[in-house]
């Protein structure tokens, strides 16, 4: 999807004024929903995402149960008003794919053996979308799961890198995603560096791929600090009240 009329770089800066390895501004808040077992609200640039975690609870329908461990049901959903033209509500090919890859990423870091036959439901609602919603959704899901007290090995985090006008950049914005050459969303376990999710849209050479992956992992580590700060901020206050 090349468009020569749009310039993604101006005086060495990107359209929104960022340098190549800058993230968009991120705001994370844990435990925002009263009725959910765990929740998180996240703003990442123009993305606004609410995640609610329920469970572990008995998996329904019963044939989905695994008698050795819990199953993870992540549900990624875009609100009809989340994009400029109204999005037709309900699951589509894209959101089902994202739900699946996020579920599988989360399964890797949760200690599921403690809850046989249960399901952990992670509802990711995209209220406002502006490129990189799957990374933002997974990042918020990590905070919401920690807020739910579900035993896990690490707080998962995601960030994307990509290529625009032949140059590698971190965390693509909306125009960059639409008119850029490649997008590489990566989710990792920040403590071990284990990759939980890796997708690629567009083309990168092998060298570019390695550099982009490196860049995305560095971005993940930055976001991870923000996640931890959000959790500490929420529970430090509660401990002081005690």
């Amino acid at each position: 999807m090349k468009n020569d009329n749009i310039k993604l770089f101006r005086d060495g800066k990107r359209v929104d004024g960022r340098a190549t390895d800058d993230l968009r501004p991120i705001k994370i808040e844990a435990g925002v929903l009263h009725r959910a077992d765990g929740s998180c609200y996240l703003e990442w640039g123009g993305n606004k995402i609410m995640v609610a975690v329920y469970g572990p609870r008995e998996a329904i329908p019963r044939h989905t149960q695994n008698h050795l461990r819990a199953i993870v049901n992540a549900r990624y959903n875009m609100a009809a008003f989340s994009v400029e033209d109204r999005k037709r509500p309900g699951p589509d090919r894209r959101s089902r794919e994202i739900s699946k890859v996020i579920s599988e990423a989360l399964e890797k870091i949760l200690l599921l053996e403690k809850f046989p036959r249960a399901s952990i439901d992670v509802n990711i609602e995209v209220l406002n979308a502006e490129a990189g919603t799957r990374c933002a959704g997974l990042t918020a899901a990590g905070v919401a799961l920690a807020d739910a007290g579900i035993p896990m090995k690490d707080i998962p985090v995601a960030c994307a890198a990509g290529k625009i006008e032949g140059q590698l950049v971190l965390d693509l914005g909306k125009e960059e995603d639409n008119y850029g050459d490649a997008d590489l969303p990566v989710a990792i376990s920040p403590r071990t560096g284990e990759i939980l999710l890796l997708q690629m849209d567009g083309h990168l050479t092998f060298d570019e791929f390695e550099k982009a992956l490196d860049m995305a992992i560095k971005g993940c580590n930055k976001v991870s600090e923000l996640q931890k700060a959000a959790i500490i901020q929420k529970y430090k206050v509660e401990l002081e009240v005690e």
Partner: protein, 193 residues
């Protein structure tokens, strides 16, 4: 004897100790000989068990434990036992994450002799009981006067039964029924459960 290490919060994945030193306790896991936190909370050492634990700062999933006081709904009444689904653990706000299929044997219903459980419980009754055993299956007990039915329905018209002396009466059809009722039948406060 649980020693509080310091008041700093630990996050999932943080290193707490090594497996040479301590056992991995509640809210921790072991990976490559290192004990790490599995949830957000405060790191404590249980001196008695010599185990590392994380006292949770968040709410945590509800697991039924021995000695818990629970509410259960009667699902079937057999000749030697009652099967009840545990629906709530006293003092907990979240749904139950572990197995909820409870059994209540005849001998555990009352202090006195019970010949047939169907004279004490009926389908749909909400009972308060104590958990006697969790593994391999959840076993309940209702011997204490606090335990027993806290809400019951008329077997003829399914209307809620009200307490009348020692037995229960249906205010709609006048049907009288017998149950192993808890001492606070009909007066329980749902907020205190």
């Amino acid at each position: 004897m649980v020693e509080n290490m310091n008041n700093n919060l630990v996050l999932p994945g943080d290193k707490l100790s090594t497996s040479e030193e301590l056992m991995p306790g509640d809210g921790t896991f072991e990976e490559g000989g290192i004990i790490r936190a599995a949830r957000v909370g405060i790191y404590c050492i249980d001196e008695k068990q010599r185990s590392a634990t994380v006292k949770p700062a968040t709410s945590t999933p509800v697991i039924i434990k021995r000695g818990d006081i629970v509410l259960a709904e009667v699902r079937s009444v057999k000749s030697s036992m009652v099967i009840a689904e545990v629906i709530h653990v006293k003092g907990k706000k979240r749904v139950i994450s572990s197995d909820t299929n409870g059994t209540l044997r005849v001998s555990e219903i009352s202090k006195s002799y019970v010949k047939d459980p169907s004279t004490e419980f009926s389908l749909g009754d909400i009972i308060r009981a104590k958990v006697q055993q969790v593994k391999p299956s959840v076993q309940l007990e209702t011997k204490d006067p606090r335990f027993g039915v806290i809400q019951s329905f008329c077997s003829k018209c399914r209307h809620v039964l009200t307490k009348n002396g020692n037995s229960l009466e249906c205010s709609k059809c006048g049907n009288r029924e017998r149950r192993r009722i808890a001492d606070d039948y009909g007066t329980y406060d749902l907020d205190q459960l």
